[in-house]
């Protein structure tokens, strides 16, 4: 039989064995829920500067968290780089990650790191209302996110309920306003015929094309769109509205990292965490991915209010660990399966 031989020949050329890795062997495996385009340049820099070889696995944050939960202690991953705090919390809750040293955690404000020292934020993103400037004037913009369920926004709003950032925002609503008020808000979205999107990229694209008037998204998607169009955010029809006065709609969430249990004592893993919180990487988040640096002394992205200015709601991301209740409420409101 020739078939098995051919199969061996074909796969033999690309097969590569699994390398579990030893601490300090100058090799790291990173599971990234963040897009390759956003994080590869900075991981390449790390590799150049330290000589530590980084293997990166890219998928959605949810898929990555699910894979980690399935792999448990057999995971090849040393580091989990997550799009949002919720997934870090889920993996931490399952007991899969190691405690981070105090001096690492101290670089970042309390709000943006795990209270149990299990993960640390590396960059921040603000929730905003994106709007089309030809469809909505500045004086029509709502002062609070709760107003988007008013009749005047009927059929004009887009949301992405399966997105981790939206869920974190809903959890924040529950923390600030209670479950009853949150249920009212979610039911309001449904009865106000909010359009359900798979992700924020599509919401912002539709707003810019005039197919949708407003949408609840993270702030940096407008910058990504401008970059793709070869222009600046000023030239886009899609604009950002930062909810004022500590409104829940301006929640600041983080992308962050956790170190898997097996790499607890690995100096390479520690080196990467330090690097991501270092000045060079922090500048990268501000300048290339348009996110907020979380470490003092690095300027925020040009053209967006600073973390100090936007008056983020007083919410500790550690209080957002009741994701299961949030997701049940989102499902019950009929916003997602």
């Amino acid at each position: 039989m020739l078939l098995p031989l051919a199969f061996v020949a074909v796969l033999g050329t690309t097969a590569c064995g699994d390398d579990l890795g030893e601490p300090g062997d100058k090799k790291l495996t990173v599971y990234s829920g963040r897009s390759e385009g956003l994080v590869k340049p900075i991981l390449d820099r790390f590799q150049q500067e330290t000589g530590i070889e980084v293997e990166v696995r890219y998928a959605t944050t949810a898929a990555m968290a699910t894979q980690l939960l399935e792999e448990r202690d057999k995971t090849p991953a040393d580091i989990f780089f997550s799009q949002d705090a919720g997934a870090l919390g889920a993996v931490a809750k399952a007991g899969l990650v190691a405690e981070l040293p105090a001096e690492v955690l101290a670089k970042v404000p309390d709000t943006y790191r795990s209270a149990q020292n299990l993960w640390v934020g590396v960059s921040g993103r603000s929730r905003v209302l994106a709007y089309n400037k030809d469809k909505v004037t500045v004086d029509q913009l709502p002062a609070s996110v709760l107003e988007v369920t008013d009749p005047e926004w009927k059929g004009r709003l887009g949301v992405a309920p399966t997105n981790g950032s939206f869920q974190a925002f809903v959890t924040a609503l529950r923390v600030q306003h209670g479950d009853a008020k949150t249920k009212e808000f979610l039911d309001g979205l449904k009865s106000n015929a909010a359009k359900i999107y798979e992700n924020n990229v599509q919401i912002v694209a539709d707003i810019n094309d005039g197919k949708l008037d407003v949408g609840l998204v993270n702030h940096y998607y407008v910058y990504e769109l401008a970059k793709e169009k070869g222009s600046t955010p000023e030239d886009l029809a899609a604009k950002l509205h930062f909810f004022p006065n500590g409104d829940t709609g301006a929640l600041v969430n983080v992308a962050g990292v956790a170190v898997l249990e097996k790499a607890a004592t690995d100096p390479d893993a520690r080196a990467l965490v330090d690097f991501l919180l270092g000045a060079e990487a922090q500048r990268h988040w501000a300048e290339e991915t348009f996110e907020y640096p979380l470490v003092d002394g690095v300027s925020p992205p040009p053209g967006v209010p600073t973390l100090g200015e936007i008056v983020a709601p007083k919410i500790d991301l550690n209080d957002l660990d009741t994701l299961d209740v949030t997701t049940t409420m989102i499902k019950e409101a009929g916003l997602a399966g």
Partner: protein, 500 residues
């Protein structure tokens, strides 16, 4: 091949196909009955099931109509440029639904919802019906039609009562693949915002990283598949098998007459909708966007990886499909039927569930294979075994068993008979199965993301990477290459419709 060896090999293949069900059973078992009831017995699930079934019915009926009509036009009429149309009608199979969905939503304002998804799914999957039906019509014995005509039946009654009856097993088999594919599709329904069961399963994974909820929902898809398999089985046993053997003669061709122009226009329109709209979108992406796809070396590496893992996936799938197909053809009976049906059981499950079940299998049983191309190839085999089983069974049924028996009576060993007589007779069918599985592997995304070796990019994963950051101009060349690579086996399949 001796019977016991055949049974053992077929059972082994079946075990691979049923890996996802073992995983589902273990994980939903952990959830407990209470949780299962809570998740499944809700109005929301009933609505989702209703919509999924409705979508499946609409798409399957539409694909059957388009697929059978196209197959009839290119094999049984005096349509001009039949050879070219024969290939053109197959090509939409090379377009992944996520590419077609993106293209349509960017082209037509407000293109979303149930009917939008139904249109895109029909355009991308009608070749599942067209290809086997065209092959069946081209191979069918014209004597039966001639007898019907000579006994006084008109041309249209002959078509419906004789010709289409001859192609019935092929139609039912193709329709089954379309129905199962529609249930499992995520690309079109997510982009065009239609809430189906599969979309809900993906959503459950995203919502709070709730594996258990997602897997409990998946079991409902398995139940739906069982019902479909039963229905197809009923239609198959009542269907006629066309007579084989004897010299092949071309069938008489219908003269289209005044219908020539409408027929040509219809085929051109399907081609434009299924291929033209995505092509125009990709060109627009490339021109409008500022992002760039990376170096030629990176693109080349992704294309090379796509080729090798898809080829590996196709070969492994074929290897597993052979004993199942041979069993059905050479040892028909309740066991063969059961094995054949069971090999379809996981086929409606979304790629992410199959992927996770292989992650589970890799972690718990085959750790040395974990995150190697071997486990990815096994994942493809689990996903696409039915496509290969259908092709192999068709070929094995048509290879006359009498030749095997003659070789055996002349003293050849069963294994020698298999390799020197049976397999060479089946080579065209095996080739068709391999081509079909290969092109489906090229398009696959969710399981590839979960199972690929860390750091290995394919065309599909690169396409996903770039679209997820709105870098459409960077994504376009990957999409075009992906469709191009998938088009090669599709073209071969189209050529094979028996026209030449």
């Amino acid at each position: 091949m001796p019977r016991p060896a055949l049974f053992v090999a077929a059972t082994g293949a079946l075990a691979v196909a049923l890996l996802p069900l073992v995983y589902l059973l273990i994980r939903t078992g952990e959830a407990g009955l209470g949780r299962i009831a809570d998740e499944v017995l809700t109005r929301r699930v009933a609505e989702l099931a209703g919509r999924s079934i409705a979508l499946m019915v609409v798409v399957t009926v539409a694909c059957t109509v388009v697929g059978v009509a196209a197959a009839f036009l290119v094999t049984r009429t005096d349509l001009p440029m039949r050879g070219a149309f024969g290939v053109l009608a197959a090509l939409p199979l090379a377009v992944p639904t996520y590419v077609a969905g993106f293209a349509w939503i960017a082209t037509v304002d407000g293109f979303e919802g149930f009917w939008a998804a139904a249109l895109v799914l029909t355009l991308c999957s009608y070749p599942y019906v067209y290809l086997p039906v065209a092959a069946a019509l081209a191979a069918a014995d014209p004597a039966q039609e001639e007898v019907a005509r000579s006994l006084g039946r008109g041309p249209w009654r002959t078509l419906t009562t004789v010709t289409l009856q001859q192609a019935r097993p092929a139609i039912a088999g193709g329709a089954l693949l379309v129905a199962l594919y529609t249930l499992s599709d995520f690309g079109a329904v997510s982009i065009l915002r239609t809430d189906t069961f599969t979309r809900a399963i993906f959503t459950a994974f995203n919502l709070g990283f709730d594996r258990t909820g997602a897997l409990v929902l998946s079991t409902v898809l398995v139940l739906l598949t069982m019902v479909l398999l039963g229905l197809e089985l009923v239609s198959r046993t009542r269907g006629a098998r066309y007579a084989g053997g004897g010299p092949r003669r071309p069938a008489t061709r219908f003269h289209l007459g005044r219908l020539r122009i409408p027929a040509v226009s219809a085929l051109v329109a399907v081609g434009l909708f299924a291929l033209g709209v995505p092509a125009a979108s990709l060109v627009r992406w490339s021109i409008a966007g500022a992002s760039r796809p990376g170096t030629l070396a990176e693109i080349g590496a992704a294309a090379g990886n796509t080729l090798s893992v898809s080829l590996g996936g196709a070969l492994l799938t074929l290897l597993l499909a052979l004993p199942v197909g041979l069993l059905t053809a050479r040892a028909p009976g309740p066991i063969a039927t059961l094995v054949d049906r069971l090999s379809y059981l996981a086929h409606a499950l979304p790629g992410i569930v199959i992927g996770l079940s292989l992650v589970f299998f890799g972690i718990a049983v085959a750790y040395p294979l974990y995150q190697t191309v071997w486990l990815l190839a096994l994942g493809y085999a689990t996903l696409f075994l039915p496509l290969a089983v259908a092709a192999v069974t068709g070929a094995a049924v048509q290879a006359p068993p009498v030749l095997d028996e003659v070789a055996r009576s002349l003293g050849r060993s069963p294994f020698v008979v298999l390799t020197s007589v049976t397999l060479p007779l089946m080579v065209r069918g095996i080739g068709a199965g391999a081509a079909l599985v290969f092109l489906t592997c090229v398009k696959e995304l969710p399981a590839t993301l979960l199972l690929r070796p860390t750091g290995m990019d394919t065309l599909a994963t690169e396409l996903w990477t770039h679209t997820s950051t709105a870098s459409y101009a960077a994504a376009a060349p990957y999409a075009a290459l992906l469709v191009g690579v998938a088009a090669i086996p599709t073209w071969l399949l189209g050529r094979r419709t028996g026209l030449t």
